[in-house]
Amino acid sequence: MRQCLSVGIATGAYGISFGALSVAAGLNLWQTIALSALLFSGASQFAIVGVIAAGGAGAAAVATSSLLAMRNGLYGLQMSRLLGVRGLRRVPAAQLTIDESTAVAIAQPEPAAQRLGFWGTGLAVYVLWNLSTILGAVVGNALGDPKRFGLDAAAPAAFCALLWPRLKSGDTRAVAAVAAVIAIVVAPHAPAGIPVLVAALAAIVAGLLPSRGPRAEDDLDDPGASQDEETLT
């Protein structure tokens, strides 16, 4: 349970930055709260706010968010085996299926601890993420002009910190580099939000190519080992 709480508290820090960035992007307090309560997946939420802040269309924001949320579906696949949930209990289980709860659960040695790790971490993160979102949004509203406080530099820094723990293998580093170049090349010629979606092609191509070196799914299974020092959202 200590592990669950410490992950929850670490995630609270992301929540504060999410709340502040969301209101800086032009979402109001209730829309910001709705994203944390209903969407509840950090990377997708940051992506929506990022696309909106750049003046992108809602459709591009939804598409980017949903592409990121695809990995939650894969976590759900793993978790449905570990948890053995049936019927309506699958609804809260699905909502709490995020990087952190999955990482803590699969890091546990036996099934009872896995289930406790999933539900404990999921609930702790849910409560603290939502509370810190409200705090961040209120503070962000009080700050006023986002540029004066460098909030537009905080967003890419937040994405970079989310990306960092995923760059362990040569494959992922190559995909990250190619995606960044694609996005920069496309950016001057496409509406905001589209360059990021085009860059996602790099992931699809990399996934279809035969793996070299450490396999990509090792990255997915790995977060449990390091989740004490760096939570993945």
Binding site: G76, G150, L151, D152, R166
Partner: protein, 104 residues
């Protein structure tokens, strides 16, 4: 699309994707290719977001300003294993200081 539509549509789709993992037959999504693509997607999307949000101006053109300096400080902080909030605050403080000094 209004902001509320965006918020609710994205939330609905995210939940549907999470729920899908609990209801589809395991064999269907269990292929090596599917897991590789799903593992790579966040990497590509996050990296592209970093690049675009650091280096593009309002019209989509490329520019180097206080945000790039903020990102450089963020990467340095990450190399030194700084926690998430410290990384974000250092990046924002760098950009804010440079702007207060009249650059970027």
């Amino acid at each position: 699309m209004t902001l509320w539509t965006t918020v609710l549509l994205a939330s609905g789709l995210a939940f549907a994707l999470k729920f899908l993992g609990y209801v589809v037959p395991h064999q269907l999504l269990d292929g090596v290719v599917v897991s590789r693509v799903t593992a790579m997607l966040p990497v590509a999307l996050l990296s592209a977001l970093v690049a675009v949000q650091t280096l593009t101006a309002a019209g989509g053109g490329l520019t180097v300003d206080a945000r790039a300096a903020g990102l450089a400080v963020a990467v340095t902080a990450l190399l030194l294993r700084a926690p998430f909030l410290v990384v974000v605050i250092l990046a924002a403080a760098t950009a804010a200081t440079l702007r207060a000094l009249g650059w970027g």
